[in-house]
Symmetry: C2
Subunit: 339 residues, 2 copies
């Protein structure tokens, strides 16, 4: 509402003097400085960030994209923890978050939306969206817009990604099952074309080989992350291979569905069949039985992503590198030795 022009008039100085004062320039006479500040406070003046952004080409905003599909946007169990950590880090550095929601832009891409809003950087939280938008990812990678993707292997001059060590985490899960004595271990995977999913599958396969069990494709069901798929997969696998004694499932949400489906099939978890999940969402500790799972360190993923993004934004000479964070195995009650 009130601008530096108003202050200038009341203080009897020029707008440049007001601007200099308010921006703490050294070359302002103490008395004028005092006078200007006093008037600014009286008028309850706050600078117009829009005007500032226009001239400075810096908005102090970080854009956030996340999916629209079920369980991939705000609904995704990860979003909360990750964005919460991002918020903390960028907030302390003086940025606000702008969440892209505007639907009235058909021709827009991630890149053009970022340019339009002139965000200083962007976080991609598209877990599960797969590579349907591959061209858009390439455009963004090459755009020069500072960018961090979560669980999506983007690489560019100002662009990289943060993920969990899905391979290693999955090997922990498999080691746990093997140590319990399981041999016939099934795997239910998520989105086939995402790196995240693929790393988990590879670890399953490698483990089966390493433990001398051998890799058998008919113990594997791949689809995409969804409860419906999990239910179907469980039924089908148990019908074809009633000798299965354990499931390694690529997400907790699916794993919980697997448990429910097994119960419906008259199986006891973990006495008849063991189940291990991946993620460690809140429900994992509440479900019955509480789920043994591989814990992703969501808070660290978010804060590492945010820190890296700030570096890319603020240091021109940085060469962004992907970051892979450790996972831990959390043993609860959904696993036991086979009968």
């Amino acid at each position: 509402m009130t601008s530096i022009k108003d202050i200038a008039r009341l203080a009897g100085v020029s707008i440049s003097t007001v601007s200099r004062t308010l921006n703490n320039y050294s070359d302002v006479k103490p008395e004028t400085k005092e006078k200007v500040i006093k008037i600014a406070e009286e008028l309850n003046y706050f600078p117009n960030a829009v005007a500032k952004s226009l001239v400075q080409k810096k908005t102090h905003t970080i854009g956030v994209f996340f999916g629209n599909n079920m369980n991939l946007g705000f609904d995704h169990p990860f979003f909360l923890d990750i964005i919460s950590a991002v918020r903390e880090v960028v907030g302390n550095a003086g940025y606000d978050l702008i969440i892209f929601t505007n639907k009235n832009k058909e021709r827009a891409t991630y890149t053009t939306l970022c340019r339009e809003r002139s965000v200083d950087g962007v976080v991609l939280l598209l877990t599960g969206e797969g590579k349907k938008k591959n061209e858009q990812f390439i455009e963004l990678q090459e755009s020069g817009i500072p960018c961090i993707a979560i669980d999506l292997p983007l690489k560019g001059d100002k662009c990289t990604y943060v993920e969990s060590d899905n391979y290693f985490g999955s090997k922990l899960a498999m080691e746990h099952l093997a140590n319990l004595g399981h041999q016939v271990i099934a795997f239910i995977g998520g989105d086939e074309i995402s790196k995240t999913s693929y790393d988990r599958l590879r670890a399953y396969q490698d483990s089966m080989m390493e433990y001398g069990i051998g890799y058998n494709p008919n113990l594997v069901y791949l689809g995409y992350f969804s409860k419906g798929i999990a239910q179907k997969a469980t039924k089908e696998l148990m019908r074809q291979r009633p000798d299965i004694t354990a499931f390694f499932v690529a997400s907790d949400e699916m794993a919980i569905t697997v448990i429910e489906t097994l119960k419906a099939l008259g199986k006891n978890v973990p006495n008849d069949v063991s189940v291990v999940g991946f993620d460690d969402i809140r429900e994992a500790s509440f479900c019955t039985p509480p789920l043994t799972t591989v814990k992703q360190n969501k808070h660290d993923i978010g804060s590492e992503a945010a820190k890296m993004l700030l570096e890319i934004i603020e240091k021109s000479d940085i060469k962004p590198k992907p970051k892979t964070l450790d996972c831990d195995l959390v043993i609860r009650d959904s696993t036991a030795p086979p009968k």
Copy 2:
């Protein structure tokens, strides 16, 4: 990067012609129009929203404030559902969400932050922050900035709020307990000074009177919404009044803690003591035993809030009115007749 100036130069027209073309003005010769649009597409032009905002005094952004405390920000179980609904509604109307996170603004208030960013409207999601910031709320109410608060009774020319019918919902809970035959019903409340909490307390008191049980203050524990308080309250109440057969607890998070505490005290839920919560968060259906609770319709709260906000923004003559949405009782396994 590329501006209307570039397009104008390449098309051999003035920038105003470009502007008019791109904004679909009728008075542009079809051929020039075509030429301009073609060049704009070739240059992959997108308008600079910052510049646009400056001249139009409209940013197409909705500000969002939420608490910083534990369980009051992104961590709050409600945030997700509500903001998800808000996002959907405002997104379809052509707005983006800007989440205020910048911490480098000590003297700032809700109002000044909104003015600074020139948001078109703002949503307050401060459930539980209480009235510590009363002066700020008053300033915002009177600021003329279109504003919707969730669970916080703000009223102004361009400002109102959306809440659940906490009183009615609580009466449903009490009716359920009374119908089961409970007489010695304790109440654990949240923030004493919030309307939300107070409405739940009043319903408890009124019910106790109506069912002829009588209101006894030593069956009531008020603090603020927190797990620690819930634990302490349970122990203290059970010590003073071992004859308690039921708890009505003002939030699910607290109710779940109450159940855990009762178990630790050697009580069986629901056989020894019944527990009813409020909110219906995800965990309510997963905990053991699954929690009987009053369900708040979070999605509707968010979408009603967003719709109302858009009305305030877009219709100058609207008189915003508070909206109170129904609650439902969800009966699960944490309640049973007293022994």
